[in-house]
Symmetry: C2
Subunit: 217 residues, 2 copies
């Protein structure tokens, strides 16, 4: 199956591919703000369409349902982060920690997206929520990937042999998510990057065979 | 001002105080589930009233608005936890860590309340959300209180003098919140208590003057 086959379906009745893609991007951007403020259930496709300046029919041409729009917003967001921060392989756990700090600094620059993430991950705990499967899978994947990064550090001798890679991965994700909750509520008094730096500094001291704080880049 | 003066207003037209209190509790319990599933905006007072078996007028007699119900649910929940786990003063940081583990074990027994917490803290990042002020204040207070518990440990000589009590408090709250997000999505594969135990074990080893893992009770 040609995974790019869907592109034809994204061509608007009067528009070129470029216009369609640009409109699609504007819908996704508007949706971030609406999901952040209203959550999934109270978000209105009509209001998103109005904000983008298209009809609801025009919006449904790009995203057939609110559920589809939700999952597209979340997938696009994760994909952008993956491309931006994790395309190049990390040659050490220290470098991977620095990338997590970069990602956190980036999140602090986009409160809308960060607010949306907090709102949606929170409400998706309901098993009937349309993003429940997405987030359950997301954490399984992230724990695996993060655990893998740590495991490679064990194999290279950078980290101690008794490192519990899965537990460390879970806790690292947890502290990042939890700091985001606090930051969104009080951005002026919570420095997410500083807090995470403090955390990974101690973590690196505890786990690295060198037994010292995270080395600078 | 007599803070108990409001009790008269809680007496139903046909009911005794006891009946009114019992009904109030049933409304709060039902509201936990509704807020957990629907979030604030999409929660319906009519549906909550129906579930409790009263009219919407009967519900409004106890909680004048959806906002009032929301804040009452959150306050009641925090108050119950405070009474249950933190009434007796902790004589050591180690004991305080054990109480946090008790609280986490308790949270794992009440998925509805934990789901509600995740959903509401997430969506309250919106400055216009009716629980925004509640959660912003909640974290200020919790960071102060948790920081205070650690500071007393520094003063007693249990913890090292260079402990950054505020940063540790923030990170401890963050890891607890973040683990709750992961647990709600996959309760069978995330053991919150085990994960937090792992975290406070290392924390205690790093911060205690004894330099060892959390001692058992």
């Amino acid at each position: 199956m040609d995974v790019k086959g869907g592109a034809t379906g994204r061509r608007g009745p009067r528009g070129s591919y470029a216009v369609g893609d640009e409109r699609r991007t504007r819908i996704l951007d508007a949706a971030v703000e609406h999901f952040a403020q209203w959550g999934f259930h109270a978000t209105s496709l009509t209001r998103i369409a109005k904000e983008v300046g298209i009809t609801q029919g025009g919006l449904l041409h790009h995203f057939r349902t609110k559920e589809a729009l939700l999952v597209s917003v979340l997938e696009a967001s994760d994909e952008n982060d993956a491309v931006r921060f994790f395309t190049e392989e990390c040659e050490s756990v220290a470098e991977w920690f620095h990338r997590l700090l970069d990602l956190t600094a980036h999140n602090a620059q986009r409160p809308g997206r960060t607010r949306m993430f907090n709102a949606l991950v929170g409400e998706s705990g309901d098993p009937d929520h349309p993003a429940h499967a997405f987030f359950a899978r997301r954490y399984r994947t992230l724990v695996e990937e993060a655990g893998g990064s740590l495991r490679r550090g064990v194999e290279s001798g950078e980290l101690r042999g008794d490192t519990d890679c899965t537990a460390e991965a879970r806790q690292l994700l947890a502290v990042m998510d939890g700091l985001q909750l606090q930051w969104v509520l009080a951005p002026a008094s919570v420095d997410m990057v500083e807090q995470l730096h403090h955390y990974v500094d101690r973590l690196y001291r505890a786990l690295s065979t060198a037994g010292r704080a995270l080395p600078p880049r």
